[in-house]
Structures are given as structure tokens and as C-alpha cells.
């Protein structure tokens, strides 16, 4: 399966390599660099590259390419999914997954990679098991280690790999027992020129942070489970129970995890919480264009729309922009031609707007293309689909946990075409 792994940074340096079978020379990455050169954008490097003797499968995360070397047939998604899991693990361990973080913790990284793959086949990818084997570095522990010479490798053996619930450590203890669930929904939408919705979908996740002693068995039920059209679960969720009763029943992993991600059935109309009035025009013959953008709330059920951020890729011909925001700040990068406007909170009484002119290159003709406007926003305390958790119960343990559920709606890929 996976033969070797190379980590390559944005400037094309291989800063880490790991081999699980016999060593593959790093010159194999030349093919990758070639492909990288051919691609105009970093994300346009093909994920699968064929070389005479090997295949390179890569993912790009945090501006680092994780390049796996494969020698024979293997489902590409298998490798891609695994590489993403590696990145997630690093992020879990070091807080961030940057070149610096990896270099600083190179030994832990190596130990992790050693445990995650055996002979190129995934062995332990569950973060709870890994944490039992290799303790994540903390400032305190690093200090203690340098003084006492003790190690960050777990003393006890990885019993988690043997358990029936491999995702949960045994012997978890907390003084404050608490379980928090965040219901986060994202709206993906494409709005056309005239303001009508071309496509809109709601995707949601339930992220959990569970700190409970022992082996609790939780059940979570919804007021309106019918809303959930297509769901995918953390392996801990009992599928049969869901099929039969539409109840989530599970023994939770310890700590943070994604319990469920779902898609809201498309029959339900999606409420679009913001609208955009725009007027972006370029006149023939003149080297100026007009830019006029107003945002407003719509169908928010009385909740405030916050953290609004508007970004738009202006045509290449635009030299600079002289704009005047009624609130917030805007920036225009003359190199990438990216306009961003940090609006903040939308006040329904006084709608935020951004108006002004754009200057075109002298003599350049009117651009053909129309920029699209990407919008990000957040609405607290509301799940736009109307999904509601009914109750959360715990069995198997005696104590009374503290429970909390939070709702939030965000913009996913929310685009307005002009």
C-alpha cells in the first residue's frame, strides 16, 4: 500500500520523509515538482501523478503537500483519506499543522507515523488509541521531560487496540463531568444576478466535546429527525438503533469528536438569511468602473447576522479600487485582485454598503467577466433548518453530567453571481 511519505512545503523543500517498506529515493518527487510547475495554482496540482515506477498521491493542507508514494494498485481515496487523517492527527497533537510545528516535534511525528501504518497498511488511526501510545506534547510535559528525562511515550500498553470500543480510552476520570454538543449548519448557495436562488443546501454537523468519567452510554434524540436526509456517523454510533428509532445511541470517544454530519433533505426550502444588492459595472471606453454593494438581512428569525465577510475576485484589468464602506474595513490586493470587506454585524436599521469606483488599466478594454461575490456570516443560537435536539440521556454511569447544546448557522460556500 503506502510505500513512503514525503512532506513538501510551499517553496518545494522536502522537509520530512518516512518509509514503511524499502527506501524510495526522494528523486521520485521530481515528478511532483514538474506537475507543480505546470499547475497555475497550488490547488491545481493533480492529486494522483503517475511516474514510471511509482504513483504519487498527494493532498494539500495548510500549505504543505503530503505526498504518498504508491507502487501498486490501491484505491486512491484510501490513500487520500488516510493522509487527511494524518493531518488531522497532527493538528490534534500540535494544535496547528505547520512546517514549524512538524519540525519542532519531528520525533513525535515519526513515532506517530510509525504507529499509524504498518508495512503501508493503516494500523491505528483512532486518535484516542494514539494518545494512549504517544502522549501529545504540552509545555508542561516538555519541561518535565527535559528535567527528569522521562519520555512522551506512554508507559502503559495500547490496550485500546484490544477493546470492543477502540475509540474510547479505558479508565477516564474527570471531576467535572460535562458533555457539550454543537449543532453547526452551513448554507451552501448560489444566488444568481437577479437575486433568485439557483441552488441552496444545508449541510450540518454535530461536534461534541465529551468529558465524562468511565464508560457512559449516551442517547441523543431529535424533535424532528425527519429533517436529516443523508447522515454519516462516527463509528461509535449504533446504526441499527438509528435505522429503527431515529435515535443516536453511542459510547462517546473521550474529548472532541464529530458525532454526525448530515444533509438536510432538499424538499425543505432553504431560508437564505442575507441578501445582496450589487451594481458592478464597467463602461466601454472609460477606464473606470462602478462598484456598489449593499447587504441586508432576510429570513433570520430575529437573530443577528454576525462576522460578515465579503470577498470578491475582481477582473484582472482592475488596477485599484476607491471604495467607501459604511461600516467595517475593506482591503484590495492589487496583485491577486482580491477584494475583501470585513463587515462585522449587520444592523437592519442601517444596512452596510460599500460604494465607489474601480480604476482600470489605461487603454484596457472592458472586462468580459463578472466577478462573483463570496459571503461568510454567522448566526448564533439558530439552526437554519430548524433541527432541534429533544433530549440527551446517559446510561451506564451513576453521576449526573452537565449537558449543553449550542446551535449555530454559518455560510458555507455562499456565492452571489453578478
Amino acid at each position: 500500500m503506502i510505500h513512503s511519505l514525503f512532506l513538501i512545503n510551499a517553496s518545494g523543500d522536502i522537509f520530512l520523509e518516512k518509509h514503511w517498506k524499502s527506501v524510495v529515493s526522494r528523486s521520485v518527487c521530481d515528478y511532483f515538482f514538474e506537475a507543480q510547475e505546470r499547475a497555475t495554482e497550488p490547488e491545481n496540482v493533480p492529486p494522483v501523478i503517475s511516474t514510471p515506477h511509482h504513483y504519487l498521491i498527494s493532498v494539500l493542507r495548510h500549505r504543505i503537500y503530503f505526498v504518498a508514494v504508491i507502487q501498486s494498485e490501491v484505491p486512491p481515496l484510501f490513500v487520500i483519506e488516510f493522509l487527511h487523517r494524518v493531518v488531522d492527527t497532527f493538528q490534534d497533537y500540535f494544535g496547528v499543522c505547520t512546517e514549524a510545528a512538524i519540525k519542532d516535534n519531528v520525533v513525535v511525528v515519526y513515532e506517530l507515523l510509525e504507529e499509524m501504518l504498518d508495512n503501508g497498511f493503516p494500523l491505528a488511526t483512532e486518535s484516542n488509541i494514539l494518545k494512549e501510545l504517544i502522549k501529545p506534547p504540552t509545555i508542561l510535559r516538555t519541561m518535565v521531560n527535559t528535567i527528569t528525562g522521562s519520555t512522551n511515550v506512554g508507559e502503559q500498553l495500547p490496550t485500546g487496540q484490544l477493546s470492543v470500543v477502540p475509540w474510547r480510552r479505558t479508565g477516564v476520570k474527570y471531576t467535572n463531568n460535562e458533555a457539550y454538543f454543537d449543532v453547526v449548519e452551513e448554507i451552501d448557495a448560489i444566488i444568481d444576478k437577479s437575486g433568485s436562488t439557483i441552488t441552496a443546501e444545508i449541510q450540518g454537523v454535530i461536534d461534541a466535546c465529551v468529558k465524562l468519567t468511565g464508560m457512559p452510554d449516551l442517547t441523543l434524540s431529535f424533535m424532528n429527525p425527519r429533517l436529516l436526509d443523508d447522515v454519516s456517523f462516527h463509528p461509535c454510533v449504533r446504526f441499527k438503533r438509528w435505522e429503527a428509532e431515529r435515535i443516536l445511541s453511542f459510547i462517546p470517544p473521550d474529548g472532541n469528536f464529530r458525532l454526525l454530519s448530515y444533509h438536510v433533505s432538499s424538499q425543505n426550502l432553504v431560508a437564505i438569511p442575507v441578501y445582496v444588492k450589487h451594481n458592478i459595472t464597467f463602461r466601454e471606453g472609460s477606464s473606470q468602473g462602478r462598484f456598489d454593494l449593499t447587504l441586508g438581512p432576510k429570513q433570520t428569525m430575529g437573530k443577528a447576522v454576525e462576522s460578515v465577510l465579503v470577498s470578491s475576485q475582481l477582473p484582472r484589468g482592475v488596477l485599484n479600487a476607491n471604495l467607501n464602506p459604511s461600516q467595517g474595513t475593506y482591503t484590495f490586493d492589487p496583485v491577486t485582485k482580491l477584494l475583501t470587506w470585513d463587515v462585522g454585524k449587520i444592523n437592519p436599521q442601517k444596512l452596510p454598503s460599500l460604494k465607489g469606483t474601480m480604476n482600470l488599466q489605461a487603454g484596457a478594454s472592458k472586462p468580459d467577466e463578472n466577478p462573483t461575490i463570496n459571503i461568510q456570516f454567522k448566526i448564533q443560537q439558530m439552526a437554519i433548518s430548524g433541527l432541534k435536539v429533544n433530549r440527551l440521556d446517559m446510561y451506564g454511569e451513576k453521576y449526573k453530567p452537565f449537558k449543553g447544546i449550542k446551535y449555530m448557522t454559518k455560510a458555507g460556500k455562499f456565492q452571489v453571481r453578478t
Binding site: S22, P47, V59, P76, I80, H84, V107, L157, T199
Partner: protein, 1109 residues
């Protein structure tokens, strides 16, 4: 090259960084020391007896390895520490050892004894880790030791150690392939393991070592299917991929009945595409079809192997996995193995994956693109999910575009084109070019929008971006080739462009167009040549070649004006630098300029150059990619990757299914014995017993598999019996009919392969012997229906068409009506396959069947492939082809030689949706011809209506003809009485419908079903308890019988204790919902919910009868 040298430099750079990192270390304070010395101090640290120093040294060494620096000279110093007490030091030493053992084989041997000791440790985790490192040391000398260790570990008590043993197998195999035979033994043993922990790893080993030994899987197949859901996710992927291959060798194609339809849908492509293709391949196709039909004749009707069903059922929940690789694996399994109607379930899950990382999207879209070519209908509901956002990376955009293009059809093309219009304004020019290509493909595939697309593309010619213009030119050229006469103004417009466009491909395309259609633009063409001659020397090679071409063509058509120009161009070309161009010029001069020497060829020059060229077919690059297993690397690359296992074709006949039976009798006592779980040695290799928690599940599991196999054989015999039992009479009737037809057709059609007719004849003879009846009959009727399907008959009793929902059919009808130009083509085709048609179309008077139905027929079949997959879990696969009962309308004796039979074809009657289609079959058994068969004097109850069948002018002696009439029964079972007239006689006849035929199928989801049922309670619900017939106690048989009794479609249902069906009455469209809930001992409860109580009551009676007899 430059890159590699760049990072060589780089290594030096980063190493100095590394040094700086550790500069604080008091012991190795010599920052400026040379490499050699630095390693010296590492050695010192390793030799010290302080663990902290050792650890520090090891950390630095590992950091060196990670950076790709050579640390092999430290080997002796490191290997000494293999027995160190400190766990972290030990682990890092392992890392080092595995990395360098291959280079330092002799020294590596020093460490072996430590691991050998570890293998005997009482702690299972230590045993496992010792085996893991030992097997990772790539030293050939220790192969025997490894072999021994693996064998021992394979029968270890701990499943975790056994898992490690499974992991070690491929390691040893890659080190020494000679060990294959022994390793296979170990694999065989581990395959029998019943724990989820081992399953994934051992299948992985199986795939690497002996993927060809499919026989090892038989006994473990059911167990693997049952364990699958609890196996860890990576193992699931491997197991699912392996089982896909396994199932392809062991089961029959579930779409066998539709494979001919698929052929039809293949025809659909050529139908929209180019006629030329059809002409070319027609003969071949015909042959293929015949060969296939011959093969079909030998087959029994398809009944899904219960093991096949087990696999499909157990993998389905995994579509909900959070792991994209698992979802993809299940999706490919369904695509390759599931009956067409069930494949649809994967679409939703795949669309969900499109929310994931862009690399995942990339792979998923590639696979979706391949799927959409075969199963377009599956993704149509998700069309909008493939809309492109400006933030997508270009490669994703292009793939989405591909999918959108594949999904385009008459109904959605306008929305897709509107989307494309916005894409054209994108800033990403590569993407714009791809969009233009996509528009071109839509235009070729969908005739109605061709002109719209062409106009749109012509507008693009005035775009500022040259790339856009060039791409448009190339696409317009292809489109114009389809109907050049209409578009001479576009050609003129393009001629003007030659002044501005610089992209060689576009220039070449324009020149070719002008040359090809120079007769449409007689004035402009010579002028273009003049301009081109001027700039000839500065053009690119492909443009030069086209200039020569243009010159030659003009010379042939308009030599007066262009003679000198042509000679000038040819002279220029003669001295061109490029070999090809000189060659071409020489060749063309000889061909077109007549000299005394020039041979016979020059006479034909005009024909050679201005031959009618076939229009190009714009095809998806994903066409035919599905011969690679989906989701595989090979599929992605469209080339065979190393180690790729071909997905075998379905077998002609299913291999013996009993190989998968597990003998339980033996294993049960064994398990009871091992529940005392003390012994560690076992004699029987196949049945290890371990003291793990999952041991208990063993016996129940095997018991399960037994009952599985029992029901398997049950259902098999059951279905066979039911085939021969309940329907034997009607089948016999239809048989004899069909036989006669066949004979006739054979007489007529001499081209038919001799062997086939022989085999059929023999089977017919056998049919008469009652004992052998059932099987042969089935195969016969099967082949019949297949032929029907092939001949695109509306009235063919193919069950697959039943499943179409009304709406779809309507849609198709619309399509049919809006496509008059296709008429001639279709007719031609009809005549070619006349043989297969004569059972519904009287050969002597082909005008009997109205053109309208004829067209819609062909479209229905054409679109079959798409629409079928829309209806998830339709009964298509389950309902037997013999489900249509034939009723007698006129007996041979009363009819004086004329036999008339009718059946309810369960097709929507196209002229009037409220009518039930009744297919009549006339057979003239007398010795004289019958003329002008028609209907008269229809007597009906009030409200009822009849659409008469068209008059059959002549029915020669011994011939058979069929016709379709429509009756609106007003949802009652009142008979329709009428007179059947020939030129001499009149017969009073009547058609009385069974209540089950007064409805049409409708597709509901489970939720809809429940909702509707909730509204039809109380008076509208009729419940009856019953005891099921002994042969009808499995789901399959129930479905078969209910759908035979009434024209209902199956509604998917989560519980396997219930079968649900739904339909609507034909006239009033009231819902009819049927539920059959089974209990123990064949007890069952039948519930019918229907607004029309009379219908409900009668239906209950009919279904009761069907289920209890």
C-alpha cells in the same frame, strides 16, 4: 534535473538548521565539528548508561533520518540499545533498525534474538510488537525465523497478535516470494478467523499474496459479509473491493434481462449522435445481438443468489460511513454488482462526498463521470450539486462540467445551458475553453438545442480572449459538419476571422471548413486562399497543411480562379522545412494536376478530396472507463496500474453456490468444547478457537449461516416450483403461441444461426414432456421476452418496463412527440429486425401500428437505461417475466380457426393515459387467409371507453399478429363487450379485467408510503389474516406472487418481515397500498389501503388467493 540539484543543496541547508536546533545541548556543544566527529559524540551518548543521553541521541538520529540524511554508520552503536529498558529509546531504536537493516544485514542479525525472546512474552502486546518489528527487518537470512514466527502467531490466543501475523505475511512475501505456498496456508487459516480485528488485515494479505486463490474465500464469504460492519474502516475498504471481485466470479449478472436493453440504450446514443456510426456498426451489432440472444436462450430467468443479496444488504449501511474510501468502495460494489434498480442509492452518498476535501472531490467526480455515462438517471436529481463555484480549483471545475454534460438531456438542457452561459464569463480561461467544448457536446447529443448552441458559440467569436475564440472555432467546425448547408453565413463569418485569430488550431479549423464547404462560399474561398498564400511561410505546420488542403480543394472545384494560386502554394510547400509538408505537397500535386503520367487516381481526385465526411462524434473521455473497477487507481489513470486485478465478467452460469455452505454439524461440538477455552493447541486448522470476547458469537453465527443456506435452497426450489406450479397453465398457453411464432419466424428469417434454431426446437420438443417442463419453459419464455425487448416492442411482456412510473413514461412520450425527425431512421431499423417484431406487428401490413406508438416505443426502450435507475428498488428484478397472464378471447373452435388471446401488457396506453392497454394476439390456424380483422359494436357500461385497435388487413394462414387496444374500465371490473369481425364472420367477445390490472405502478418511498397509509385508515383499510402457501414463505416469492396478481410496484422497506407495494388505479388515480407482513410459521397479515373500497375488497381476495395457493 534542476529541481533535484536544488534540494541536494537544500539538504545541506536544512542540516545546518538542524544543528542549530540542537546547539543548546551541552554534551554536543561542538557546533562547528565535522560530520564524522559529530557522529562520534552521538556514539558516545549511545554508549553512556544514562537513559536520558541515549534518548537525546536517538532523537537526533531520528531527526536526521526524517530529513533524509544518512545515519547508517551509527548502526553498531544503535543496535546495542535494542534491549534498552526505556520504552521510548527502544521504540526509536526499532525505527532506526527497520530503516537501515536492509543495508547492514550482518549487524542487524545481532538484534534478532531480542525479538525472538519477545515473541514468547506472556503479554500479547509485547508479542505483537516483537513480531511487527521482526517482520519489518528486511534481511533474507531470517526468512525461516520469520516464517516460524508468523505461523506461531497465526494460532496465538490473542486476536491482536493474529492481526499482526496477518500484517507480517505481505512483508515476508515481498522479501521472499518463494514462501508463497506456506504463506497461503497461513492465510487460509487466518481467513477462518472469526474476529473483526483480523478480518481486514488477512484480506489485505490475501490481496497482496494470492488474489487469484478465490477458492479460499468460499467458506468465509458469509462470515466476511456478516462481520463487515464491525471491521475497522481501512479493512472494510479492502474487504469490499475483494468481495466485489469475488461476486463477479460467483454470481449471475442481476441485470441480465436488461443487458439487451442496455444495448438499446447504446443505440440511443448513436441515435442522437450520428447516423453514420449506426450504419457502420449495425451489422456487427446485429451479430452480437444474435449471439447474445442465443446465449440468453439457454438461461433460466434470473433469481438472485441469496449470498449475492447478503453482500448487497450488508454493505449498504456503510454508505453512511464517515470515511470517503469506504463510501466509494460500497458505491463501486453497487455499481458493479447491484441490479440496476438498486444502484440509485449510492448517488446520495457520493454527492455527500463532494463536500469533502478537494482531493476527495477529484476522485469522486472522476468516478461519478464514469457512472453518469452508463446510469444517467441516477444522478439527475442531484444535478444542482454539480454546479460550479468560482472558488473551485480548475481541475474540479472541469470534472463537474464533464458530469453536467453527461447529465444533459432534453428536459434539463435549458437549465444546463443557462449555467454554461455564466461559466463562459468566468475568469479562469482554461475552464471557459472546457465549457465551450461541453456546449459543443451538448449540441451534438441533443438535436433540439443544436442551433441555439451554434448561435451562442458564434457570438463568442467576438470575444476578446483569443483562447475563447479559438476554442469556439474548433467546436463550431465540428457542429457545422453536421449540417453545413444551413450555415454558410457562419462559414463566411469565420472566414473573416482568419485576419485576427492567431491560435493555430483555430486557423486550421477555419481553413478546413472553408475548403470542405467551398461550394457554399464560392466567392470568399479563393480570397482566403490568396491571403493565406501570402502568409504561408509564417504559419504553423498544421495551418500550412490545411492551406495545402484548401488549395487542392479549390483547384478541383474552381480551377479557373485558383490554378495559379494553388501552384504558388504548392511551390512554397515544396521547399518547406518540414518533411510532412513537402511530402503532402508532392502527393497533392501528383493527384490533382493532370499530367500524362498521372495514373487513374487523378480522375478520382475530386471524389477523394470532397468525399462526404462523417460528422465527428464528440465523446466523453470517460466513455468505456468502467471496464476498470471503479474507485481503483487504474480507473483514475485510465491505465492498468501494477498489481491491478481485473474485474472479471459475469459467469455464463453460476458456479455451484453450495461451496459457500459451512458445515455446522462439525463446528458446533467444537465450539462447545472450546467454550471451556483452556486449550491452546488445536488440531483442526480451519476452526481455531480463541479465548476472545467474540468467541461466543461463533456458534450463533454459524447457525445463522446455516439457516441462511437453508432459506437459500428453499427459495430456490420455491421459485422454481412456483414457476411450474401456479403459472404453468398460462405459460403453456403462451408457450405454444410463441413456439408457433418462432417457427414462423424461422421460416422467414434464414440468417438466424442454425444452431440456435436447433436448440430451440429441441427445447420445444422437450416442453411437451410435462416433467421437464418448468425449466425449459422458463428459458424459452425468457429468450422470447428478450427478443421482444430487443425489438423494442411496446407490448413485450418484459417485466422491467413495468416498473416505470407513469410520469417517466409521460416524459418519454413528450420526447417522442417532439422528435419527429428521427422517424425515418427508426423505421429503417425496424425493418432490419423485422423478424423479432412479428409477434406484435403484423408483417403483411406494417402500417397497422400507429407511428406514434412506434416512435414512443423506441424511445421508451432507448431511455430505459436512464429511467430505470430512477426508481429505486422497483420490482424489476424480482417480478418474473412470465407474470403476464394470457386470457383467451376467442377459442380456435368457436373462432373457426382464428384464435385470439389477450393479456394486460401493463404498459401505459399511450393515446390515453386513463386506459388500460390490452394486447391482443391473433393466430390464424385455418388454412385460408383472414382479412380485415377489426372491432365493431362495442357495448359498454356507462363511462367506459374503448380505443379500438387498428384494423388488420390481412392475416395469412398460419400467421400470427398482434395489436394493442385501450379500454377505460372506469375502475370497475365490468366487462367490455364487442364484436370481433373478419371479412366473413363476426364473433361476440368480452374482456373482463382482473382487479389487479386496473392499476398502474407508482413509486413511493418508505416515508411516503407510511404517510399515505396513515391517511387511508378506517373504512379504507382492509386487513385479512392468512397462512402462506408452503412455497411462498420468503420475501422473493411473496413479491413475485403479489406483483403477478396485481400491477403494483414494490416499495422499499427497512424491515424484512414486511413487503409493501403501491399502485394507483388507472382511471381515478386513487392510491392502492398493499402490505404483507409475515409472521412465524407462514402466518401473515395482508393489509390493503384504498380509497375505493370495492377495488380494495376485490384486491384482497385476489392477493389472498395468490398467496395461499
Amino acid at each position: 534535473m534542476s529541481a533535484s540539484s536544488a534540494f541536494n543543496d537544500d539538504k545541506g541547508g536544512s542540516s545546518s538548521v538542524g544543528e542549530a536546533e540542537y546547539a543548546y545541548d551541552p554534551v554536543s556543544g561542538k557546533i562547528f565539528s565535522s560530520d564524522y566527529n559529530r557522529h562520534d559524540d552521538l556514539k558516545e551518548m549511545l554508549d553512556s548508561n544514562k537513559d536520558s543521553l541515549k534518548l537525546e541521541a536517538m532523537k537526533r538520529i531520528v531527526a536526521m533520518i526524517a530529513r533524509g540524511k544518512n545515519a547508517s554508520d551509527l548502526f553498531p552503536a544503535v543496535v546495542k540499545n535494542v534491549a534498552c529498558k526505556n520504552i521510548e529509546v527502544k521504540k526509536l531504536v526499532y525505527v532506526y533498525l527497520v530503516r537501515y537493516a536492509e543495508e547492514q544485514q550482518d549487524l542487524a542479525l545481532l538484534s534478532i534474538s531480542t525479538f525472538q525472546r519477545g515473541l514468547k512474552d506472556p503479554n500479547q502486546l509485547i508479542r505483537a510488537s516483537a513480531l511487527r518489528v521482526l517482520s519489518s527487518i528486511r534481511v533474507t537470512i531470517i526468512v525461516p525465523i520469520m516464517m516460524l514466527a508468523i505461523k506461531e502467531a497465526a494460532s496465538d490466543m490473542s486476536p491482536y497478535v493474529r492481526k499482526t501475523a496477518a500484517h507480517a505475511i505481505p512483508k515476508l512475501y515481498s522479501l521472499d516470494p518463494e514462501q508463497k505456498d506456506q504463506l497461503i496456508e497461513v492465510i487460509e487459516k487466518l481467513l477462518a478467523d472469526k474476529t473483526t480485528l483480523v478480518a481486514g488485515s488477512v484480506v489485505m494479505a490475501f490481496e497482496e499474496v494470492c488474489p487469484e486463490r478465490i477458492d479460499l474465500i468460499h467458506k468465509n464469504y458469509r462470515k466476511l459479509c456478516n462481520l463487515l460492519i464491525d471491521v475497522e474502516e481501512w479493512g472494510q475498504v479492502v474487504i469490499i473491493n475483494m468481495l466485489t471481485r469475488y461476486a463477479r466470479t460467483q454470481f449471475l449478472n442481476p441485470n441480465i434481462n436488461e443487458s439487451l436493453l442496455e444495448e438499446g440504450s447504446g443505440g440511443d446514443k448513436t441515435f442522437y449522435g450520428s447516423d453514420e456510426d449506426e450504419d457502420e456498426d449495425d451489422d456487427e451489432k446485429e451479430k452480437e445481438k444474435k449471439a447474445e440472444a442465443a446465449a440468453m436462450a439457454k438461461r433460466k430467468p434470473y433469481v438472485m443468489d441469496p449470498d449475492h443479496r447478503l453482500l448487497l444488504r450488508n454493505t449498504k449501511p456503510l454508505l453512511q460511513s464517515r470515511n470517503a474510501a469506504v463510501v466509494m468502495a460500497v458505491a463501486q460494489l453497487y455499481f458493479h454488482l447491484a441490479p440496476k434498480a438498486e444502484v440509485g442509492v449510492i448517488a446520495k452518498a457520493l454527492v455527500r462526498l463532494l463536500r469533502s476535501h478537494s482531493e476527495v472531490q477529484f476522485v469522486v467526480l472522476q468516478n461519478v463521470a464514469t457512472m453518469t455515462i452508463k446510469r444517467r438517471g441516477m444522478f439527475e436529481p442531484y444535478l444542482k450539486s454539480f454546479y460550479i463555484r468560482s472558488t473551485d480549483p480548475t481541475q474540479i471545475k472541469v470534472l463537474k462540467l464533464e458530469v453536467l454534460t453527461n447529465l444533459a438531456n432534453e428536459t434539463n438542457i435549458s437549465t444546463i445551458l443557462r449555467e454554461f452561459q455564466t461559466y463562459i464569463k468566468s475568469m479562469d480561461k482554461d475552464f471557459v475553453a472546457a465549457t465551450i467544448q461541453a456546449i459543443g457536446r451538448c449540441a451534438t447529443n441533443i438535436g433540439e438545442v443544436r442551433d441555439t448552441c451554434l448561435n451562442g458559440l458564434v457570438q463568442l467569436l467576438s470575444n476578446r480572449d483569443e483562447l475563447v475564440v479559438a476554442e469556439s472555432v474548433v467546436v463550431i467546425k465540428k457542429l457545422l459538419q453536421m449540417q453545413p448547408e444551413k450555415h454558410s453565413d457562419i462559414i463566411k463569418h469565420m472566414a473573416k476571422l482568419t485576419d485576427n485569430i492567431q491560435v493555430p488550431m483555430a486557423r486550421a479549423s477555419i481553413l478546413w471548413l472553408i475548403g470542405e464547404y467551398c461550394e457554399h462560399v464560392p466567392k470568399i474561398a479563393p480570397d482566403v486562399l490568396r491571403k493565406m498564400a501570402k502568409s504561408f511561410t509564417n504559419e504553423e505546420d498544421i495551418v500550412k497543411l490545411q492551406i495545402i488542403n484548401l488549395a487542392a480543394k479549390l483547384y478541383l472545384t474552381n480551377s479557373k480562379q485558383t490554378k495559379l494560386l494553388t501552384q504558388y502554394v504548392l511551390n512554397l510547400a515544396k521547399y518547406d522545412q518540414n518533411y510532412d509538408i513537402r511530402d503532402r505537397a508532392r502527393f497533392i500535386r501528383q493527384l490533382i494536376v493532370p499530367t500524362e503520367k498521372s495514373g487513374a487516381l487523378s480522375k478520382y481526385a475530386k471524389k477523394l478530396f470532397l468525399a462526404l465526411k462523417p460528422a465527428p462524434v464528440l465523446e466523453s473521455p470517460f466513455k468505456d472507463r468502467d471496464h476498470f473497477q471503479l474507485g481503483s487507481l487504474s480507473h483514475l489513470l485510465n491505465a492498468k496500474a501494477g498489481g491491478y486485478q481485473e474485474l472479471p465478467d459475469w459467469p455464463e452460469a453460476a458456479p455451484d453456490p453450495s461451496v459457500r455452505n459451512v458445515e455446522v454439524k462439525e463446528s458446533v461440538p467444537e465450539w462447545t468444547k472450546c467454550s471451556s477455552r483452556e486449550k491452546r493447541k488445536e488440531k483442526k486448522v480451519e476452526k481455531p478457537f480463541y479465548s476472545d470476547s467474540e468467541g461466543e458469537s461463533g456458534p450463533t453465527e454459524s447457525a445463522d449461516s446455516e439457516s441462511d443456506s437453508a432459506t437459500a435452497s428453499d427459495s430456490r426450489s420455491g421459485s422454481e416450483e412456483s414457476g411450474s406450479g401456479s403459472e404453468s397453465e398460462s405459460e403453456e398457453d403462451s408457450e405454444s403461441e410463441e413456439e408457433e411464432e418462432e417457427k414462423k419466424s424461422k421460416k422467414k428469417e434464414l440468417k438466424k444461426p442454425v444452431q440456435e434454431s436447433e436448440s430451440e426446437q429441441s427445447s420445444e420438443e422437450e416442453d411437451r414432456k410435462p416433467e421437464k417442463k418448468s425449466k425449459q419453459q422458463k428459458s424459452d419464455s425468457e429468450s422470447e421476452s428478450d427478443e421482444d425487448e430487443e425489438s423494442e416492442s411496446e407490448s413485450s411482456p418484459s417485466e422491467s418496463e413495468d416498473s416505470e412510473s407513469e410520469a417517466e413514461v409521460k416524459k418519454k412520450k413528450k420526447v417522442a412527440e417532439s422528435k419527429p425527425p428521427s422517424k425515418p431512421v427508426k423505421k429503417e431499423k425496424k425493418e432490419m429486425s423485422l423478424l423479432d417484431l412479428d409477434d406484435f406487428e403484423p408483417a403483411p401490413s406494417p402500417q397497422v401500428t400507429p407511428v406514434n406508438t412506434l416512435l414512443s416505443n423506441s424511445l421508451v426502450t432507448d431511455l430505459e437505461g436512464l429511467s430505470l435507475s430512477d426508481s429505486v428498488l422497483s420490482p424489476a428484478t424480482i417480478a418474473p417475466s412470465s407474470a403476464l397472464k394470457n386470457y383467451e378471447l376467442l377459442h380456435r373452435i368457436t373462432g373457426e380457426g382464428l384464435t385470439v388471446e389477450y393479456c394486460f401488457s401493463r404498459q401505459p396506453f399511450s393515446p390515453d393515459a386513463n386506459m388500460v392497454a390490452v394486447q391482443l394476439q391473433f393466430t390464424n390456424n385455418s388454412s385460408s387467409d383472414t382479412k380485415s380483422l377489426h372491432m365493431e359494436d362495442v357495448k359498454l357500461q356507462s363511462g367506459m371507453r374503448v380505443k379500438e385497435f387498428p384494423e388488420i388487413e390481412l392475416l395469412p394462414a398460419g400467421e400470427t399478429a398482434s395489436a394493442v387496444m385501450g379500454i377505460d374500465f372506469c375502475d370497475s371490473t365490468q366487462a367490455a363487450n364487442f364484436q370481433l369481425c373478419t371479412h366473413t364472420k363476426k364473433f361476440f367477445v368480452s374482456i373482463q379485467p382482473p382487479v389487479g390490472e386496473l392499476m398502474r405502478t407508482v413509486f413511493l418511498t418508505e416515508n411516503e408510503f407510511k404517510k399515505e397509509q396513515g391517511q387511508l385508515m378506517g373504512m379504507n383499510e382492509i386487513t385479512e389474516k392468512l397462512t402462506l402457501d408452503a412455497r411462498c414463505r420468503n420475501e422473493h416469492a411473496i413479491v413475485q406472487r403479489v406483483t403477478a396478481a396485481a400491477n403494483l410496484s414494490r416499495v422499499p422497506c427497512g424491515s424484512d418481515k414486511e413487503c409493501r407495494f403501491a399502485g394507483r388505479t388507472v382511471t381515478s388515480s386513487s392510491l392502492v397500498l398493499v402490505t404483507v407482513a409475515t409472521r412465524e410459521e407462514g402466518a401473515a397479515q395482508l393489509t390493503v389501503n384504498c380509497e375505493k373500497m370495492v377495488i380494495g375488497t376485490m384486491l384482497v381476495k385476489d392477493i389472498l388467493l395468490a398467496l395461499t395457493q
